[in-house]
């Protein structure tokens, strides 16, 4: 293959795989937004908390599966606690108040995570060798492929859950029309609890994969900044949208950095994704796959 072409393919593939990682974080947001209209900024803190708990348990000598189950249990408790203590008392408040409350929650979780587990930087080894694979001159990261597979599996499980379980169906009913769902006797609090548990689990998966990439440390909570443009583009309320938008954002920002960066100065990745998402939204205000809603006029 022509080296320039193979380089291009490499950038695109690398971008797509990074995009999957962004989508992974974005899904946690979508789950909660869909049912309760909250942009849960504490998602990043939950990612940090999950990864830090897991890695500390492993360092204490707990075997891998045991640590995983223990962390899962902790995340379920955290999700439930946030829902009970913060979201439920704030029901019917304007979204911006809820958003601020989740920022408060983020402070609490970040503080607690560091207080309990310390501020040390940890390495997290998931046992995946990250020497690159080569396909016709194009390097592909083994770890990123694994991460994409995990993300795919998670989306598949979530889809099955929403399609075939009672709670899942109720979840969709609430997302479609909360009032109608309420009037046919669906118990909203139970569904909210389920959703917060689910987003806790998503946070754990994202925390493990991102933790293995970055090391487990405070900066892990900053991965939400990568997820936000994905959310704007894909719609806050669509899991499929998050995946597609993640892929687009990942590829677009890598291409922009590599090919546009040299002309306008490097380091543009921080904002180019937002600008790209905005440009697309101006053409198509309802996002890629999001519901058409008054929120976006």
């Amino acid at each position: 293959m022509n080296p320039e072409l193979s380089f291009f393919v490499e950038v695109v593939v690398g971008g797509l795989l990074s995009g999957v990682m962004y989508a992974l974080v974005a899904i946690g947001f979508v789950l909660i937004y869909k049912t309760s209209g909250v942009l849960n900024f504490a998602q990043g803190a939950m990612v940090l908390f999950a990864a830090l708990t897991f890695v500390s348990l492993v360092e204490w000598g707990l075997p891998f599966p045991a640590a995983l189950i223990a962390t899962l249990a902790v995340m379920v408790v955290v999700g439930l606690a946030v829902e009970r203590a913060v979201l439920r008392p704030l029901v019917n408040q304007p979204p911006i108040t809820l958003f601020m409350a989740t920022l408060g929650v983020a402070y609490v979780i970040e503080g607690a995570a560091q207080l309990v587990w310390g501020t040390q930087v940890h390495g997290l080894d998931l046992g995946i060798d990250d020497t690159p694979l080569e396909f016709g001159g194009v390097l592909v990261s083994r770890f990123d492929l694994f991460a994409a597979a995990v993300a795919g599996l998670m989306v598949a499980l979530l889809t099955l859950f929403f399609r075939y379980t009672r709670t899942g169906l109720a979840f969709r009913a609430v997302a479609d029309d909360p009032l109608a769902a309420l009037s046919i006797g669906l118990r909203l609090p139970r569904i909210w609890s389920a959703v917060w548990i689910a987003s806790g689990i998503v946070a754990l998966v994202a925390g493990l994969l991102w933790g293995a990439r970055l090391g487990v440390q405070f900066s892990l909570s900053l991965v939400v900044l990568k997820a936000l443009p994905v959310l704007v583009l894909g719609g806050f309320d669509s899991i499929a949208g998050a995946i597609v938008a993640g892929l687009i954002v990942g590829a677009a920002e890598k291409l922009a950095e590599v090919y546009l960066g040299p002309f306008i100065g490097g380091g543009i990745e921080g904002w180019i994704a937002y600008v790209a998402a905005l440009a697309l939204l101006l053409i198509r205000p309802s996002g890629l796959l999001g519901q058409r809603s008054v929120e976006r006029a």
């Binding site: 601020m100 503080g111 380091g267």
Partner: protein
């Protein structure tokens, strides 16, 4: 579905002209005579700068109902604009360069406000992050803006107005106080003017506003421009009067959130909310950590203290939101009324 920012009607103003006069007498008269350097430098000056930023954001979020997560970017624009104006236009009086900085920030706000014509709620909020990150990048990337300083950090010019120096702790406080009081009065006039009522009309119902003849697009952009003008000047105070240095990293997303906290905790759509909120956000952490240090002693691990403090602060924010969703301003209003009733 309700709009993103349903707010209670503005409580009747209880701070009458007498109250305001007393407050000003206290702030201009008594405080400068009695306060210590620490109070000026570490508490009052940053409090004023952040309260002003809160005031600006409140105009946008509280009055016009448009959510922005990029306030600190406009503080940065203001600070850098003032620095460059003072640097490149020799002999320009400081008040003029501060005014110019406000105008530059307003222009930046106008551009950043364009998405508001099509987006609402959180979509708009997240889109303002584009401004947040773009400004940080541009300030870092374009060396000219920081006068090609090798490290990109710039020193603020001296605070001298008409030969009068405001360089000491008290001077910095009075300088900030004068600007903040002036802009607060101006904003007070504004929100009670037809323009201010147009902003509120858009917040409450865009459709209704349009029916009664409010030019929605123009008013939204005006809200962004006015808000960013004030926020930009707050940035100048933050950099020149408080820190005395400017670096892009100081105007990060955390600062934007902090300003949003100030507005929401203080009370959306009220002028005093910004001051109450800034008091809460600036003073409370300091009180908490002093309290912690006093209880646990000097040698106590400052990190543990800080984390406990972070947890307490987060919890307090949540508690305030739960107990008083309309903010401290509403709490104050109610308390005052109760006092009056019992009296």
């Amino acid at each position: 579905m309700s709009t993103a920012l349903d707010l209670p009607a503005k409580p009747r103003d209880l701070s009458g002209p007498v109250g305001i006069a007393l407050l000003l007498a206290l702030a201009f008269g008594l405080v400068p005579l009695t306060a210590s350097d620490y109070l000026f430098e570490a508490i009052l000056t940053p409090f004023l700068a952040l309260a002003l930023a809160g005031l600006g954001l409140n105009l946008l979020t509280g009055y016009a109902g448009l959510l922005s997560l990029g306030s600190s970017a406009f503080m940065a624009v203001g600070a850098y604009a003032a620095f460059n104006l003072s640097l490149r236009v020799p002999g320009l009086p400081l008040p003029v360069s501060i005014l110019g900085a406000g105008l530059v920030a307003a222009a930046a706000g106008l551009v950043a406000g364009l998405p508001s014509l099509r987006l609402k709620g959180f979509y708009l909020a997240v889109s303002t992050l584009a401004a947040q990150f773009f400004v940080a990048w541009a300030l870092n990337r374009i060396g000219w803006l920081s006068n090609d300083s090798p490290s990109g950090v710039i020193n603020a010019p001296r605070l001298v107005v008409a030969g009068q120096s405001f360089e000491d702790a008290r001077g910095r406080y009075l300088f900030s106080l004068a600007i903040v009081s002036f802009l607060t009065f101006a904003t007070g006039r504004l929100v009670n003017s037809p323009t201010g009522r147009n902003l509120v009309a858009i917040r409450d119902s865009e459709v209704a506003a349009r029916i009664v003849g409010v030019k929605v697009a123009r008013t939204k952009l005006l809200a962004f421009a006015l808000s960013c003008f004030i926020v930009g000047i707050a940035g100048v105070l933050w950099a020149f009067a408080y820190l005395r240095t400017v670096e892009p990293a100081g105007f990060n997303l955390d600062r934007s959130f902090q300003i949003l906290f100030i507005v929401i905790i203080g009370g959306l759509g009220t002028l005093r909310g910004a001051f109450l909120g800034a008091g809460f956000i600036v003073v409370l952490p300091l009180v908490l950590s002093r309290l912690g240090a006093a209880l646990l002693g000097d040698s106590f691990d400052s990190g543990t203290l800080e984390m406990v403090q972070r947890i307490v602060l987060g919890a307090l924010i949540v508690i305030v939101l739960i107990r008083e969703p309309a903010g401290l301003s509403a709490l104050l209003h109610r308390t005052a009324r109760r006092l009056r009733l019992s009296a």
